[in-house]
Amino acid sequence: MEVIKTRGLTKIYGAKIAVADLDLSVQRGSVFGFLGPNGSGKSTTVKMLLGLRTPSRGTAQVLGFDSSRESHLIGQRVGYVPELGNLYPHWTVQATIELVRGLRPTWDDSFASHLLSLFELPLKQRVGKLSKGMQRQLALLLAMAPRPELLILDEPTSGLDPIKRQEFLQVLMEGVADTGQTVFFSSHNMTEVERVADTIGILYNGRLVVSGALEELKCSVKRIRVVLPNRDSLQLQQPVRSIEGDNGQWILTVERGVEKVLAELRTMEPVALQVYDLALEDIFMIYGGGEGHEPNTDR
């Protein structure tokens, strides 16, 4: 069952298209990593999903509710950790918790206490006086304690040091593992997304350039190094995403059908033929335009 479904979701600010014709599908129980470079439209998408921004066109459904007309119903069922703080800086931690507790009928007191002791948040301290890491932890507590069906995290670890980031992700994953919640995790940090996500979508210039199961993607996208000393150029019948190099040495990036590409290369009697697995970061660089490629929108 789809927890998030968008069709042709578009947001235009003046002359700038922030998000263009986004068709997104997030299945229940999955941890969806929403990747993209800064300014690619991730936060705008998240805000449209939550009904905080009105789409210029297209539709977004979250948990079956229309995000433009039924955002309050979405808010009752979703936990949200924003990129920038949305907490009252002059309020104490305790008052902030009491406020959200009063707004969420599904608030789980024992789970909130567990998170509170885990994060060691000082109840009497003003939110504005907390470190950035503690503010993030408080935001996570507020998002998780109502036991929402869906957690939407927008760059939740930005600005945190590696230790705090690690702790944050650990708590998140433990919480999710217990309940089977769906998580929509927007980030530009590949390492953390690779750690937590089972499905990913990569946004580039407001367009979804790739989406699918992370493992499948890592299995299908490969890099091949081939050495053919007697050739000046390399042309293949099998489709490849890119070919780089010269003087008999080439690096090929293959999106699918790696075996067929290898078979074709073998017929050319190479002196060296190696296949490399790619990390998510490499895949992101390929689709996110980091290598100077135009993103492939066919996929």
């Binding site: 905080l52 309050h72 808010g75 949200y80 907490l87 009252y88 009063g102 707004l103």
Partner: protein
């Protein structure tokens, strides 16, 4: 949910309410103290007074209830109350939108209409209740200083004056949503209502 939101708003408003209350109360006490002093400086022979002092003015100064009525409803509420109404109006929604704290409410199941109505209703109620409470307190304070006040004349006038504050607050709120910046909204409102 409504109770939580009302508690939240009262928490946000508490210092403004306290300052507004103390300012109005202070003005009332000053009025009572000044009344006696004014009586003392008035000459017995009214012909010595400047020509702009009309018999009506003299009558109002001579009658304690009238003096209180005109000072409180004609000066204190329009001055202190307007200032309070502007502060409440510009601080109601614009700062929350500006700082992004409103998303905490919106992403926890509160709809925009509810946020708007609870905030506005509370501000209006505050602007009516605060002067009314101070008006009621004028009675005991007057008695404490040896004056007798006809309260029934005072209360309806305060109610009308307070309603005008609700209008000031509504306009200030509108301006703050247009300008989206607290200081400039305040300046715009001060110029508008100062004129």
């Amino acid at each position: 949910m409504n109770r939580t939101l009302i508690a939240k708003e009262l928490r946000e408003l508490r210092w403004k309410l306290l300052v507004g209350f103390l300012a109005l109360l202070g003005a009332v006490l000053l009025m009572i103290l000044m009344y006696e002093k004014i009586q003392l400086v008035l000459p017995e022979d009214t012909s010595q007074l400047p020509p702009f002092v009309t018999p009506e003015m003299l009558e109002s100064l001579g009658d304690y209830t009238t003096a209180m009525w005109s000072n409180f409803n004609d000066k204190n509420i329009p001055q202190i109350g307007t200032l309070l109404a502007i502060v409440l109006g510009i601080g109601l929604l614009a700062p929350e939108i500006e700082s992004g704290t409103i998303t905490l409410l919106l992403t926890n199941g509160v709809c925009r209409k509810r946020v708007f109505w609870i905030k506005t209703t509370l501000a209006v109620v505050t602007l009516i209740v605060l002067p009314m409470v101070v008006t009621v307190l004028i009675g005991p304070f007057s008695r404490a200083f040896g004056y007798s006040l006809r309260h029934l004349r005072q209360i309806p006038a305060t109610l009308v004056a307070s309603l005008s504050l609700a209008f000031v607050m509504a306009v200030s709120l509108f301006i703050s949503l247009l300008v989206k910046e607290r200081i400039w909204s305040g300046i715009a409102c001060a110029i508008l209502f100062g004129l």
